[in-house]
Amino acid sequence: MQRYIIKRFLLMIPTLLGVAVFIFLLMRVIPGDVVELRLTSEGGFVTEEVLAMERARLGLDKPLWQQFVNWIWGIVRLDFGTSMWTGRPISHEIGIRLQLSLEVAILATVVAILIAIPLGTLAALKQDTWVDYAVRVFSIAGLSMPSFWLGILIILFLLIYFQWVPPMIYTPIWVDPWANLSQIVWPAVAVGYRYSAVSTRMMRSSTLEVLREDYVRTARAKGLWEKVVITRHAMKNALLPVITVIGLEFAFLIGGLVVTEQVFNLNGLGKLFVQSIAQRDYTMTQALVLLVAVTFVLVNFVIDILYGWLDPRIHYQ
């Protein structure tokens, strides 16, 4: 088991390194330059010397490998550098948005779980009845609707029928829970619905599979009350793949809610992502990508460990 853990851990490193190299090069392939964008974009006229000077100040004139090494060395020491656009420390910039993005992600996950687990189980129990079809249609509809369209509809609904608009400024939940929730609950629902679609289907199919297992049939034959059978034995095993799916999707909720954030005007990491790419802010984009990648890889790692622990072949090594 220990060897398994170490092996899995070591495998994270080349992946992360690969992500680092990939995003580093990708950013520099994109045409356009942060210095030019900042100084000339709104109509200012600056000379080439000034541009060159600003580039040197940001370290853009050094050879590529040196820039890369400086950056990686900083990351290792947990120094994420400063944003090329604002000049402020990246950890500060990300920190401001991380809270909101985390909250939306967690709340969306809660919504998804609240929908997926009961509905998925229900659909499995009533397979091929109209209940099953209704649940499947409901969840596929969630996958099919563009989430930003759903978001637009939600805002319109609030505006037209209640003349009410969610707050535009984020207040942390411990400062003012009402203001916080009245802003966050809507994007959480819009995202959560879509998110639940995948999990519902997963829940349904893994419950179905488990229900067919021998031990379930045995429990039934013993005459135990059906509900006990289902909840105690089936659900526990059915939940495992569902947790996998939820965990993997969660990582992407952190930086991937680009369009939703625009529709609901949330100051989150998705907005920061789009902004930093548009501004050619290399250091910021690189940091954000690494953040998402690390989350994803860590979640994968934890799931691998979990499976390893549950799989007796690995557990007893």
């Binding site: 994109i30 045409p31 356009g32 330059d33 030019e36 964008l37 900042r38 100084l39 000339t40 974009s41 709104e42 109509g43 200012g44 006229f45 600056v46 000034v50 000077m53 600003e54 656009w85 604002t86 000049g87 402020r88 910039e93 401001i96 948005r97 805002i155 505006l159 003349q163 009410w164 608009v165 707050p167 535009m168 400024i169 984020y170 625009q262 529709v263 609901f264 005007n265 100051n267 907005k271 920061l272 902004q275 548009a278 501004q279 050619r280």
Partner: protein, 541 residues
């Protein structure tokens, strides 16, 4: 029986009382009405801003994203009177004198102005500020120093006097000293670190800096020691950064923001008026911005003046003014100067210009003839590059392509992101491209600068050299009378738009500011850079 009559004394007292009573009756309604317009103290103004400021230094930025949240922290030397545009009044300057030959400007600085850190403002600070703007030190960017080429020196002979010496008399200097970007900074700070103001705030304005959360909001609080007694009226303000335009409208509609200083499209105005009725007040007016088509004069077949003329002739600007103004923030038809401004062309003068005539059929016929003569085949394909902003770039782009389709040209609309757009425009990597221009005031030196030869003007993206235009520019800049100046500007316009057509404007912008009626004391001006110190703004209860 004694008959009592009013004694003479009491009679006169009575008369006076009666008079006073009558006067009071007459005056009462006026006084009551006055009470409605009597500024009230208190409250926080929430307003929406489309994006964050790139840095906090007004001398190096060009975007409203800086002005709207940051300008209330600073004072200027001179400013525009919001009730009397374009009259200029003093901000930190109390009064000024201009020498007879127009080459020396002497300013008297007010007493008792304090920076937010408590120190006193003196002429030295004004001098240091203008030294930074006009003669920036090594490594410091000053984007508008080109407007001050006529200044030889800025001196502060004593604590309350600032003297500007010029090489030649320039009528535009006073206006340029009222530029909303010329925040007055502290000399001591600039001496230690000229970059300090890019990331920090310390000014003499009506509001002190309180908080900035990037991507979210900017808060300013009332400056209790502001040098204008009784101002500001507000307790503070909050600039909320809202990127999506529909979210901004929703914010105003829901009362989360009371005003947005740039402008809303006509549809949003209608939505707000319908939803909020008389809680909303709409201020509309001309805007000192316009869209133009930049043509790459170095690329075939656009190096042929006939082709360029045809492109301008094809456009039915008058019809666009009517139709596009229903869905976009563009409307007035104008030439190189804003229509309706002192030096703007009159309607009669405009219709005489190529592409501005009323008979569009004849114009398009002529355009086709010119194209044929220049050897451009029917269905000729070329690309028009455009910014990726929906308002008003997208509708104008779609309209342009449609108009050119009507003279047999097959144009591809290529929309570019910010980075590639600015890069392509600067490098000449285009055949035709959408261009735009926004200024803070009606001043030919500012507006015409764009059309100078490429070698002289950093704002000329159409890549041409024309010494005639350059000469006309210098002449109008030093003109002795407004009449002379006007005539020279008309000559400039004719050369550019009739003879050479290197590039041409399409429509000017139209500013629509719907806001909650309780926001008082803000008068819309033709530029969204002006009048943003929020000094006179108050909230009615």
């Amino acid at each position: 029986m004694k008959v009592r009559t009013w004694s003479r004394q009491s009679r006169s007292v009575g008369a006076v009382c009666a008079a006073v009573f009558v006067l009071a009756l007459l005056a009462a309604p006026a006084a009551l009405a006055q009470g409605q317009y009597q500024p009230q103290y208190g409250g926080t103004l929430d307003f929406a801003v489309p994006k964050d400021p790139p840095s906090f230094d007004g001398h190096r930025e060009n975007t409203f994203a800086l002005i709207h949240p940051v300008a209330p922290h600073y004072s200027l030397l001179l400013k525009f009177d919001q009730w009397n545009y374009p009259t200029i009044v003093g901000d930190v300057a109390e009064s000024w004198k201009i020498s007879k030959d127009g080459k020396t400007y002497t300013f008297k600085i007010r007493k008792g102005i304090k920076f937010h850190d408590g120190s006193t403002l003196t002429a030295r600070d004004v001098k240091a500020t203008y030294d930074k703007i006009i003669f920036p030190p090594e490594g410091v960017v000053s984007v508008r120093k080109g407007s001050y080429l006529m200044v030889t020196s800025v001196k502060a002979p004593d604590a309350r006097t600032v003297v500007f010496r010029l090489k030649w008399a320039a009528p535009s200097l006073l206006a340029n000293l009222a530029s909303p970007w010329n925040f007055i900074y502290k000399a001591d700070i600039l001496a230690k670190d000229p970059h300090w103001y890019e990331k920090n705030i310390n000014g003499t304005g009506p509001f002190k800096f309180a908080e900035y959360v990037p991507g979210s909001h900017w808060i300013g609080k009332k400056n209790e020691d502001y040098f204008v007694k009784g101002r500001p009226y507000l307790d503070g303000y909050r600039a909320i950064f809202i990127k999506s335009s529909s979210a901004r409208v929703a914010a105003v509609r829901g009362g989360r923001a009371l005003i947005e200083f740039r402008g809303f499209p006509p549809s949003s105005r209608d939505d707000l008026v319908n939803a909020l009725q008389d809680k909303i007040r709409v201020q509309s007016g001309p805007w000192l911005c316009y869209l133009s088509v930049a043509i790459n004069n170095e690329k075939k077949p656009f190096n042929d003046v006939r082709v360029r003329k045809a492109l301008s002739l094809a456009l039915d600007r008058w019809e666009a003014s009517e139709t596009l103004s229903k869905i976009a923030i563009i409307k007035p038809v104008g030439g190189v100067m804003r229509p309706g401004s002192e030096f703007g062309a009159t309607k009669a003068e405009l219709t005489g210009l190529v592409g501005y005539g009323k008979d569009i059929k004849a114009a398009r016929k002529e355009a086709r003839r010119l194209l044929k003569e220049a050897g451009v085949p029917e269905g000729f394909k070329f690309t028009f590059k455009n910014r990726d902003l929906p308002m008003p770039y997208e509708p104008m782009g779609i309209w342009l392509i449609d108009q050119w389709r009507q003279i047999g040209l097959n144009v591809t609309h290529k929309i570019e992101e910010k980075g590639p757009y600015f890069s392509d425009r600067k490098k000449g990597n285009f055949q035709t491209i959408m261009d735009y221009s926004c200024d803070f005031m009606d001043e030919p030196d500012l507006q015409l600068y764009k059309y100078l030869s490429s070698g002289k003007s950093g704002a000329n993206y159409s890549r041409y050299e024309d010494p005639v235009l350059d000469e006309l520019y210098v002449k109008q800049s030093r003109a002795k009378s407004a009449k002379e100046r006007r005539e020279l500007i008309r000559q400039f316009e004719r050369r550019l738009l009739n003879e050479k057509v290197y590039t041409f404007p399409t429509l000017w912008w139209f500013k629509i500011n719907p806001h909650w009626d309780k926001v008082k004391g803000w008068n819309q001006l033709p530029s969204h850079y002006l009048n943003q110190d929020l000094r006179d703004v108050w909230l009615a209860k």
